[in-house]
């Protein structure tokens, strides 16, 4: 695939990729944009090569997930949770308020509930429900086995339903 073709495909996937970047970066818009840009550059520069073993979308999302994780570790994100517990961050389980986006009350509740799930469950649910991937594709993006992804999906869905019920 030439660079121009790659760029066209990335532009086509861009709105979905932005949503995935937001999910990977816990709703932090600035971090999501940085991770997205870094991913695009990595792909277009050839540092990440698409070899056709999966769909382009699945592959791009996998690269984006790893890039967001690297950026988070580099910025000391691994310390953010324990530090925030120490200093008592208000609204600990709230995502960044709207991240400059117009969100309905229903979407804010959904994001709050998602934020309370373990990371793997949150990822699989986002990839299946938001991105319309199959569980097998979600497993590939998350780097887990199919059985594990199915477990995350079932447990995450049940927990999410319970939380949304209590939030009514």
């Amino acid at each position: 695939m030439s660079r121009e073709e790659l760029e066209r495909e990335l532009e086509r996937l861009h709105p979905a990729a932005f949503g995935w970047a937001l999910s990977c970066c816990r709703g932090e818009r600035t971090a999501a944009e940085d991770a997205l840009q870094a991913t695009y550059l990595k792909i277009l520069d050839g540092r990440a090569r698409y070899e056709g073993r999966s769909s382009l979308k699945t592959w791009v999302f996998g690269v984006l997930r790893r890039t967001a994780l690297e950026e988070r570790r580099r910025e000391g994100g691994w310390l953010r949770e324990p530090l925030s517990l120490l200093v008592g961050r208000a609204g600990h389980d709230q995502p960044e308020p709207d991240a400059g986006l117009l969100r309905s009350e229903e979407s804010r509740r959904l994001l709050t509930a998602l934020e309370r799930l373990p990371a793997r469950q949150r990822e699989v649910l986002h990839l299946v429900f938001y991105q319309d991937l199959t569980i097998a594709e979600a497993a590939e993006v998350s780097g887990v086995g199919l059985g594990t992804a199915r477990t995350h999906y079932a447990r995450g869905k049940a927990a999410l339903r319970r939380m949304l019920e209590t939030m009514r």
């Binding site: 760029e7 990335l10 532009e11 861009h14 709105p15 979905a16 932005f18 949503g19 937001l22 932090e28 600035t30 971090a31 944009e33 940085d34 997205l36 840009q37 870094a38 695009y40 550059l41 277009l44 580099r74 910025e75 000391g76 310390l79 953010r80 530090l83 120490l86 991240a99 400059g100 986006l101 117009l102 969100r103 309905s104 229903e106 979407s107 959904l110 994001l111 649910l125 986002h126 299946v128 429900f129 938001y130 869905k157 999410l160 339903r161 949304l164």
Partner: protein
């Protein structure tokens, strides 16, 4: 298609809202890559917090229990310990106070003027 239409509907709504606020592809791709993180706590701040925490932990761990030397503490815990002002409590009849008198026993000493 999933097995939960209600969650599908909620996620679809979230997807529409976020897609409407997505940055334009071209400008995002072509903007200068940030050299340092923006509006996020820097690595320096994180290490400062870790250093402060370590100082507090070391300070608590090496804190001296008090001003009383350990040998004094051990001495005070001993049943043989005598206070520095005990001599003031020695009275002529101390021995009588410490012993139980026997019936019929006579002590002539105190009757002799």
């Amino acid at each position: 298609m999933t097995d939960d239409p209600e969650l599908e509907r909620r996620f679809a709504r979230l997807r529409e809202e976020e897609a409407a606020g997505a940055p334009a592809f071209g400008p995002l791709l072509r903007r200068p890559a940030p050299a340092v993180s923006r509006s996020r706590p820097g690595r320096g701040l994180v290490w400062l917090a870790v250093a402060a925490l370590l100082v507090i932990i070391v300070g608590i761990a090496t804190r001296r229990p008090g001003r009383i030397p350990e040998r004094e503490l051990l001495a005070m815990a001993s049943p043989e310990w005598r206070g520095p002002t005990d001599f003031l409590l020695v009275l002529p009849d101390n021995q009588a106070l410490r012993s139980v008198p026997r019936l019929g026993a006579v002590d002539l000493d105190w009757r002799i003027p």
